[in-house]
Amino acid sequence: MSDARATRPEAGPRVSLARLAGTFALVGATSFGGGLTGYLRRTLVEDRRWLAEGEFLEGLSVAQAVPGPNAINLAIFSGWRLHGPAGAVVAVGAVMLVPLIVVSALAAGWSTWAARPHAAGVLRALGAFGVGLMASSGFSMLRAARFGTVDLVLAAAAFAAVAVLHAPVPAVLFGLAALSALRPGGTEAKGAA
């Protein structure tokens, strides 16, 4: 997944701003159940094929290391790769557009359609959908990354520290990344380049 375009964002826009806006707005509008990151991966890597799998993983890594919601940072990274700085602004604006309108409407009403019995069922299913999509993103990225033993151990340690031991995410993120960087041999051989 180290095709040349992945390291050459300056090679010119890959996607028009209008297509970028339309795609990110659709992802934003349909990203129910949490896990917007999973929606972005499925759409950008698999459906549109605008980003290579390795490039997406690079983007998600940077998104986690920089403060702010992962999905928002990821939209900025993806927009930048697809159409430079303007693409980044358009992508993040488009992905937030519908969610902002919906949550503003909820604030104004402060009541909820979710209280209706059928709607509650839909919400439960969409929550489960979000979990399934997030897990699928993990599997797909793992499959594409072709990790060796050390990487797999680090990934499992990060999972267990946060999901089982409830360790603070920033400490896990930077602590294990430091370990990962310091190991002999390093990771540059199959790195993000």
Partner: protein, 173 residues
């Protein structure tokens, strides 16, 4: 009122700049600040706001709009969202600019690569954390399993899958 807006801006901007690893990291601190420190809303209203925001699409952190609205009306909502999203977004723009300039240096590739296994581990961790409050019965477990399998092994369309899950939820007892 103005004092409240300034406080909202200060609290959320600080949280935005410290949310390394993602927005979910700071939700407990949002609760502490909004409920215990500033009394913008009651613990029950906070829980309600969070649950309510789950019925909307978009990033989970967007529920700060509801917190800001409770604290100071429309202006509070706008200030909360701007403060929570803009500082981190500006940093990310800076990071992308730096990457497009220096991203091809081996040291940068090496640093980014060092995060890769941890990033994937954290994706699974966030699925597990979401699962704890979401997969509460055989129906939700089945939906998550079917979606995970379909999204991983087939090219089924995302919106189609989403519509199927929503329809199943509508019909489920």
């Amino acid at each position: 009122m103005n004092g409240t807006l300034v406080e909202i801006a200060r609290v959320f901007a600080l949280l935005s700049l410290t949310s390394f690893g993602g927005g979910n990291v700071v939700i407990p601190e949002i609760q502490r600040q909004a409920v215990a420190v500033h009394g913008w809303l009651s613990p029950e209203a906070f829980t309600e706001a969070f649950a309510l925001s789950r019925s909307a699409p978009g990033p989970s952190t967007l529920f700060v709009l509801l917190v800001g609205f409770r604290a100071a009306g429309r202006a509070g909502a706008a200030v909360a969202v701007a403060a929570m999203f803009l500082p981190g977004a500006a940093l990310m723009q800076g990071a992308c600019a730096a990457l497009s300039r220096w991203g091809r240096r081996p040291i940068v590739g090496r640093i980014v690569a060092a995060f890769r296994p941890v990033t994937i581990g954290l994706v699974f961790a966030s699925a597990a954390v979401m699962a704890r409050s979401t997969l509460v019965d055989p129906f939700t477990l089945a939906v998550a399993a079917v979606v995970a399998a379909a999204a991983t092994f087939t090219r089924a369309s995302l919106v189609g899958l989403l519509a199927a899950a929503a329809a199943a939820g509508w019909l489920a007892p």
